[in-house]
């Protein structure tokens, strides 16, 4: 198992390196465009352009430029924006990351709880009234766009009802966990629910299907022949095996979300997370910022998928041998 983890991490690092090279090439080696004017912005003066050229080594060979870029990004961490002059990129990202991580963490807890229990309840009551009811809520949660749901939630909690039953809902914004855990949770409560609803719907539906398939497997018949209770068969055998596909789904979803896909929720609720930051960068054509966010996002996807593979190997012993 330890060897598996080491191997998986080594390959993750290799993938990260490849991604960084690719991203670098896309941003700085696309033919026909002068990278200096791209970085410096449309209205930059020749002096600024020269400074950019020097800083990124634009007149030097490609590998050195790559090295310089990585040096600024990761070692010296002094990559600066030329759109909002003087803004350092890395501190912006490290300030935004806890917000995104907090948002995703809470949403993950909610969607796993709701999604798994929904899937189990539906599968358990297959053919009864409860099953299609749960599945209806699932498809509804999947179908409602996040930005619409977010706006609706804001409208309800911040509108007319804000003076009565929703008086406890803060007016958006973010309070860090270390500062005040209660306010942290309170500020993120509705963003959590909004972000979780889509995934809870997907997970409930996927898990229901998996459970029903697994309940028809031969090993379930063996479990019954062993004289186990239906409860134990459902939870210890069928659910345990169904979780394997849930985990692979989970890894991709969390990776993509941490990498910035929580953008819509962040923008709707005014949370200045990584998604929001990327959005700002794109609007201002702030190239260093975009590059930092893309790099950060890609790395999180890779890390999350590596972590999931390790969990995967833990819950499915058949994987360990292959690796």
């Amino acid at each position: 198992m330890l060897r598996f983890i080491a191997k998986r991490l080594a390959s993750a690092i290799l993938v990260m390196f490849t991604i960084s090279v690719l991203v670098f090439l896309i941003f700085f080696a696309t033919p026909g465009v002068n990278p200096a004017s791209r970085i410096a912005g449309r209205t930059a003066s020749p002096a600024v352009l020269r400074q950019v050229s020097k800083e990124f080594g634009l007149n030097r060979p490609l590998p050195i430029r790559y090295g310089l870029m990585m040096y600024h990004l990761f070692i010296k961490q002094d990559l600066t924006s030329y759109v909002n002059i003087g803004d350092r990129i890395i501190p912006q990202i490290t300030a935004a990351a806890p917000i995104t991580l907090s948002l995703i963490f809470g949403a993950v807890v909610i969607w796993l709880l709701v999604g798994i229990s929904g899937g189990v309840i539906a599968a358990k009551n297959k053919g009864k009234f409860v099953d299609p009811l749960v599945m209806f809520f699932g498809i509804a949660a999947i179908s409602i766009p996040v930005y619409w749901l977010g706006e609706m939630v804001s409208l309800v909690t911040q509108g007319g009802l804000h003076n009565s039953i929703f008086a406890w809902v803060p007016n958006g914004g973010y309070v860090s966990l270390t500062q005040n855990p209660w306010q942290w949770a309170l500020h993120l409560f509705f963003p959590w629910l909004t972000l979780a609803s889509l995934y809870a719907g997907i997970y409930a539906r996927v898990l229901r299907g998996e459970l029903i398939n697994n309940m028809n497997e031969d090993y379930i018949r063996t479990a019954r022949a062993k004289g186990l209770s239906e409860r134990r068969i459902l939870y210890r055998h069928a659910l345990r095996c169904s979780l394997i596909s849930i985990v692979s789904l989970f890894g991709l979803d969390v990776g993509v979300l941490v990498g910035g896909a929580a953008l819509l929720t962040e923008v709707v609720f005014g949370l200045q997370g990584v998604g929001w930051l990327t959005y700002q960068g794109l609007q201002n054509l702030d190239l260093p910022l975009i590059m930092g966010c893309v790099m950060y996002g890609a790395f999180f996807v890779v890390l999350a998928s590596a972590a999931v593979d390790v969990i995967y190997a833990y819950i499915d012993p058949r994987i360990r041998v292959v690796a």
């Binding site: 063996t222 022949a225 062993k226 004289g227 499915d316 012993p317």
Partner: protein
């Protein structure tokens, strides 16, 4: 054995068991009027083609048929106690505790994500009050008993780390873990290669002698029957075609369907260009004839076969066929059936 009396030493006695499924195309009678007894330490073979209802019969009496459209009737007495219609919770102590089961495909019969030891321990602890540690010790003993090399380390291995034959040994160890009075083996050798088949049958025979369990073995292979069974039930289309001691049924089969089955066993000592088959296909369970179910495929069909033949015969060798003893003698003098040549 006549259907009315129940031998006192019978571990299992089944009377007039019928299982039918309501489907969109109509009612399917998967098992129709099956009666038999299994004595103490007896090995009963149930033989028939695929779809003849042999597995369904066994599963239904243990409550393993989980179909909302099933209806089961008749009587199944296990050690004198009626078990048909027991609640699921009551049935749980019978299943795995007093009746062990072995299944056809050992590759899929074990939960893939747990070690084999864990799975044996789970069953031990479901039926006995024992500590985890003691249960693991017992599981290791059981693995040793079914001939798994190095049981101390193998107990912590996962099912995918075993070969098919070894997995079937694990399944057998699990089935025997609670010292069941009855072992039901559903085609235990079908999914295995020939040499492994012989080993597994041999193992079952040895363990049966040690543990003293009775065995019901379901198979479509007359060779398996000849190897291990004391008595045989031949089933066709959900109905018993012939019941009798193994030697009688194999040596002097009375039902034309049994003749066909015996003829279908390939022999090493007779050169044949093609494998012998029974002409025609197994009857669709939706359109079982009102008379003898085998009549459409039977080359000795008579007018009376439009009526359903009763199960009758001398002493303990019964069959459901309208042929008279004279007719059978005449037929058998012209054809050779395996086992008597």
């Amino acid at each position: 054995m006549s259907p009315e009396e129940t031998p006192t030493d019978a571990v299992l006695s089944v009377r007039d068991l019928s299982v039918s499924f309501a489907t969109r195309q109509g009612v399917v009678r998967a098992v129709d009027g099956l009666s038999f007894d299994v004595g103490t330490k007896e090995v009963l073979g149930i033989v028939g083609e695929s779809g003849s209802g042999k597995s369904v019969a066994m599963y239904s009496m243990l409550g393993l048929v989980r179909d909302a459209n099933v209806s089961i009737s008749g009587s199944v007495r296990f050690e004198g106690r009626e078990i048909l219609g027991l609640s699921d919770t009551e049935m749980q102590s019978v299943r795995g505790g007093e009746v062990g089961m072995i299944f056809q495909d050992p590759m899929t019969a074990l939960t893939p994500v747990y070690t084999v030891g864990w799975q044996i321990v789970e069953q031990l602890r479901a039926h006995n009050d024992m500590t985890k540690k003691a249960a693991y010790v017992r599981a290791t003993e059981l693995l040793a008993e079914v001939g798994i090399p190095d049981p101390k380390s193998r107990v912590n291995h996962y099912p995918h780390e075993f070969s098919g034959g070894m997995r079937q040994r694990v399944v057998i160890a699990m089935a025997l873990s609670c010292n069941p009075k009855l072992l039901i083996a559903d085609e235990p050798t079908t999914a295995l290669d020939v040499t492994t088949q012989a080993q597994i049958l041999d193992l079952m025979g040895r363990l049966q002698a040690i543990h003293g369990s009775s065995i019901v073995i379901i198979t479509h292979d007359m060779g398996v029957i000849a190897e291990i069974a004391h008595r045989v039930v031949v089933m066709y289309a959900g109905r018993p075609a012939e019941i009798g001691p193994e030697l009688d049924v194999v040596r002097s089969a009375r039902h034309p369907y049994t003749w066909g089955l015996l003829g279908a066993v390939p022999r090493a000592d007779v050169k044949t260009r093609r494998l012998v088959t029974i002409p025609g296909n197994a009857v669709s369970p939706l359109e079982v004839p009102t008379g003898c179910a085998f009549a459409p495929r039977c080359q000795y069909r008579m007018d009376i076969c439009a009526e359903r033949p009763p199960l009758r015969g001398a002493r303990d060798h019964l069959d459901a066929c309208w042929l008279s003893d004279e007719q059978r003698l005449e037929i058998r003098s012209t054809v050779t059936v395996r086992g008597e040549s």
